[in-house]
């Protein structure tokens, strides 16, 4: 009868505080990684880092690109994600859109938040995501396929799940993470190119030293593994949030089975959601790329899956249904 997730036991304020802490850790992790990329670049091309009046151009550029893209993404990221998915604002006169708008309104009332902007993606595969900067500037997007295949209760479950992402400030964290991921991929790509085409001044300089050699090796590993490492960091952040959003969504609707059966339907839809690009995958309620890694358990899935296995999420929701008596607000 217990909820099989350690996160469900945190109340909403603790969870928000935890999310802010996590955000700081993730930011530090990304900053260190960016710094490493830049410093390695400087070292490779000059043989030293900021010594003797030399400006560590690579380091400065790397940190600036990271910071810049993080700030840029907070104001433009959400709309960029929506545009790239081909999302259009929900149409009041279309009955299925009208129902979606109503359901979003209901969940806004249940959670005590302002109503987010509502978008529909013209894609036949069922999926949904939320994005934004904070609850006052947030959006929920669902595919037409979701509206067509779910009944009202199931739709309510999905919207409640997305609303929880908004309430828990997951949307902000995921937006920044996506931007930093992009920055690192871009920079590591440049670094790799400069390795092939650039002529390093490394051989001319005498002062390499052991520390320098170590840094160089780390840098080379870093730029080669950058895509994998950043994805692992982003995924670790997003996976844990799914259980929590399921649980607090169920608390909003007081009907965990609605979301459970919605997840079942989303899972059985075999087609990957073509309109949602790889960059927004970690925002979605279910993996839009249909990667098999997300349906497995174990070490590899722990490292690379964006979402916990749907089976496990459904089991957790069903367990909640046995104790779904109204609980006082946290």
């Amino acid at each position: 009868m217990t909820i099989p997730s350690p996160f469900a036991r945190r109340n909403i304020y603790e969870q928000q505080a935890h999310n802010r802490q996590m955000t700081v850790f993730v930011m530090i992790g990304f900053a260190l990684f960016l710094g490493l990329l830049g410093m390695g670049f400087d070292f490779y091309f000059s043989g030293s880092v900021g010594e003797g009046g030399f400006i560590p151009l690579g380091t400065v550029v790397a940190l600036a690109v990271g910071t810049g893209s993080a700030f840029w993404s907070l104001s433009n990221g959400p709309s960029a994600v929506l545009t790239s998915a081909g999302a259009v604002p929900a149409d009041d006169s279309n009955p299925s859109h009208r129902q979606l708008l109503n359901v979003v309104d209901e969940m806004a009332i249940a959670s005590g938040l302002p109503r987010p902007a509502v978008y529909v993606i013209p894609d036949a595969d069922p999926n949904a995501f939320a994005t934004g900067k904070d609850p006052q500037h947030s959006s929920i997007a669902v595919t037409q396929g979701l509206l067509d295949s779910l009944n009202r209760e199931e739709l309510q479950g999905v919207v409640a799940h997305e609303m929880s992402h908004i309430r828990n400030y997951d949307i902000r964290l995921m937006t920044v993470v996506a931007a930093l991921m992009g920055a690192i991929l871009l920079l590591s790509d440049w670094a790799r190119r400069s390795l092939w085409y650039g002529r390093g001044r490394k051989r001319n300089s005498k002062s390499s030293g052991q520390l320098g050699a170590l840094l160089l090796v780390l840098w080379l590993i870093g730029i080669i593994l950058a895509p994998i490492i950043t994805r692992m960091m982003a995924m670790a952040v997003s996976r844990k949030r799914e259980y929590l959003a399921d649980a607090s969504g169920a608390e909003m609707t007081r009907n965990p089975l609605g979301l459970a059966s919605a997840l079942k339907k989303i899972d059985t839809a075999v087609e990957p959601t073509a309109s949602i690009k790889r960059g927004a995958a970690h925002l979605c309620i279910a993996d839009p790329l249909g990667r098999s890694v997300n349906s497995r358990e174990g070490f590899v899935a722990e490292l690379f899956g964006t979402h916990p296995p749907i089976e496990k999420r459904i089991t957790a929701l069903q367990a909640m249904a046995y104790q779904s008596a109204p609980t006082p607000a946290a």
């Binding site: 009208r98 109503n102 309104d105 969940m107 007081r254 109204p326 006082p328």
Partner: protein, 187 residues
């Protein structure tokens, strides 16, 4: 020396009273706001009902009685005053409405009518909003009441004449009643 200690104690007590008072005021405002949310949705339902009734009236000649009851319940709900009164009257309206929807199922032409479907969706959503707003209101009102009734908050509450907020309760008689279905109904 003793005077200073007394003064310090007094200062602590005064600060505590101020903090407690402010938190009670905040909770009271949140409770009022929660009630306003319910109120908005109730108004919306009152506005939707005449539309619904006039849309289905033509085809539901035999159901005049039910329609009449819906209109009556709606009109008495509009004039409700206070939380308890509103809760009671709205619950009667909810009962009458759900009976009407059950009857609509017997009329295939109505069921497939786009207008009726739309109105049905609007009313379903409004029902849901009412219950979610009620859930939210009751949670906040309970917090407000608890903070007024537990020691030492109760001293402050009685000093400044705070009163407990009424909860929006489900009336056992109406909402928990099993809907009666008349099987002899002829179309």
């Amino acid at each position: 020396m003793a005077v200073y200690i007394l003064l310090a104690l007094l200062a602590v007590v005064i600060f505590w009273i101020i903090a407690k008072y402010n938190s009670l005021i905040t909770l009271r405002n949140q409770t009022t706001n929660g009630w306003k949310q319910i109120d908005v949705q109730l108004k919306r339902r009152h506005d939707l009902i005449p539309n619904l009734v006039s849309t289905v009236k033509g085809q539901m000649q035999f159901e005049q009685d039910t329609l009449e009851k819906v209109i009556q319940a709606r009109n008495s709900a509009v004039t409700a005053t206070g939380v308890a009164d509103a809760a009671a009257k709205e619950n009667i309206l909810t009962g009458a409405l759900s009976k009407l929807f059950a009857l609509v199922e017997n009329y295939p032409t109505l069921r497939s009518n786009e207008n009726v479907q739309q109105l049905q969706e609007e009313l379903t959503s409004t029902e849901n909003k009412i219950s979610f707003a009620r859930q939210f209101y009751n949670d906040i009102a309970t917090r407000f009441n608890i903070s007024q009734q537990t020691f030492p908050g109760n001293i402050i509450a009685s000093m400044f004449n705070f009163t407990a907020a009424e909860l929006f309760e489900i009336q056992v008689a109406t909402e928990r009643e099993v809907p009666k279905v008349d099987l002899s109904l002829k179309r």
